[in-house]
Amino acid sequence: MVLQVEDLRVGFSVQGKELLAVRGVSFDVKEGETVGIVGESGCGKSAAVQAMLKLTPANRISGKVLFEGEDLLKKSNAELRAVRGRKIGMVFQDPMTSLNPTMKIGNQIREGLLYHRIASRKESKEKALELLKVVGVTEPELRLEQYPHQLSGGMRQRVLIAIALACNPKLVIADEPTTALDVTVQAQILDLLKKMQSHFQTSLLLITHDLSVVASVCDRVLVMYAGKIVEQGTVEEVLLDPKHPYTQMLLRSLPHLDRPRSEPLLAIEGSPPNLLILPKGCPFRPRCPFASDICKEEPPAGNSTANWAACWKVV
């Protein structure tokens, strides 16, 4: 087991109140596995992974984040810096803003190698070049000396992947790595992530709002809604035979390329709840066509390994 998250809770202070963006999330990532966290904006998926590495201004982070047997949440910032970038690599969403505009590409890739003392200055230059070749950046020698604005969005995302992989991490966290990219580039980048993963034997935790990205690269998927995991299982189970009404309706609200055009789209009425005034019990209750009185009780959560849905109708 590479990563074990137990009852992670993340709270922000908003207008004098505490907003719980993540309300008790437990999951694990095995060696070499690709796990997807899927959900809409505000469901807490990014807040959860940022809190795992304490990369967030959250007021309260509780629970356990066990990485190689050690709780990351108990580590000091100095200890965490030895993990960030070294053992856990991160690819952020926006390739336009997550590179330093005033630093040459080569130096940005070498930064981690030098900081973690993995390579000497001379070796790091060679490794930066090799990394650019591996992630398929064209004219790598030239790119080393260029600045981010001289590269296209897809090329920048490749550079970010090279940086994340530079120190040969055990786990790569990719937060919406293809959302800002065009479809043809998205396909290339996802393909690259999968290749890199089997090449470097890393585990991949992929955050996305796009179920088709999950379908094409993940082994397992966690569906989040209003700060909680509402369903989890293998991609086949969750996408082909969804149990939770939210997952079921979400899949029916999307057009499928391989189904007849005439099949109407089912709209989920309403919108995700305001986390400051959550309904009692199941957070999906106000939008759920199957809701009944029992749904006012907190729905059951399953253990982190099996497939389950947090819904009274399924139990």
């Binding site: 065009d182 479809v183 094409s216 999307l254 057009p255 055009r261």
Partner: protein
């Protein structure tokens, strides 16, 4: 024929260099139909949409709207018949105006009677919305306001420029279904600009694929999606990801040998 575009071009001058954003595009849209326009960022699809509404002047070519050449046309008469729904519902509504005022503005400018209540009903917003401001609404509700505003002058033709790409997944179907219902009720004609191939296939009658300022392929939606002819359309379609995990694209490790990498 509601719209007939002939050899439309837009050339931007960059110093002494010229950049052709839209390069001789011709197409027709029948009344009541939807032309889906797909292509990647920078291919000129938004420029094309804005030229049709004369928001950007064209360099050459002609646009016939309902039989009339509107290429030289500027001014208010056109607004009554052609409108636009914008991509970003957060940026396209004036934050200092109430929803009622936003919807009233086009009616006042054109000296038409107030029909704000009717417009709110049409897009499924409650009447109390009138006195509220954009920041009090979610993305989906704001996009409904944007649609109501576009409908205020009772247009025939609406350019929908990525109207759902800024919305959450569970909200997209609401807005798409609303657009389809309004089209049937009001006999609207749409140019639907998007990069989401699945949505374009769902709601378009005709599809045009744009690449580097040119339309490379055009035809009935079913035909484009089931039997694409142009290599670029084929590439676009093969890049689209399926929702079915059984159709996973395995990384073709054997085909492309990776550079050996040793630490």
């Amino acid at each position: 024929m509601l719209l007939n575009v002939k050899n439309l071009r837009k050339v931007y001058a960059q110093g002494k260099k010229e950049f052709t954003a839209v390069d001789g595009v011709s197409f027709k849209i029948q009344r009541g139909e939807t032309l889906g326009l797909v292509g990647e960022s920078g291919c000129g699809k938004s420029t094309l949409g804005k030229m049709l509404l004369r928001l950007i002047p064209s360099t050459s070519g002609q646009i016939f709207f309902d039989g009339e050449d509107i290429t030289k046309n500027r001014g208010r008469a056109l607004c009554r018949r052609m409108q636009m729904i914008f991509q970003d519902p957060f940026a396209s509504l004036n934050p200092r105006m109430s929803i009622g005022d936003i919807l009233k503005e086009p009616l006042q400018i054109h000296g038409l009677p107030d029909r704000v209540d009717e417009l709110l009903d049409l897009v499924g917003l409650p009447q109390v919305s009138k006195n509220r401001f954009p920041h009090e609404f979610s993305g989906g509700q704001r996009q409904r306001v944007g649609i109501a505003r576009a409908l205020a002058l009772n247009p025939d033709f609406i350019v929908c420029d990525e109207p759902i790409s800024a919305l959450d997944v569970s909200i997209q179907a609401q807005i798409v279904n609303l657009l389809i219902r309004l089209q049937k009720e009001l006999n609207l004609t749409y140019l639907f600009i998007a990069h989401d191939l699945k949505m374009v296939r769902y709601l378009s009658t005709q599809v045009a694929v744009m690449y580097l300022g040119k339309i490379v392929e055009m035809g009935p939606a079913e035909q484009i999606f089931s039997n694409p002819q142009h290599p670029y359309t084929q590439l676009l379609l093969s890049s689209a990801l399926s929702l079915d995990p059984r159709k996973k694209k395995e990384p073709d490790l054997l085909k492309k040998e990776l550079t050996p990498f040793v630490f």
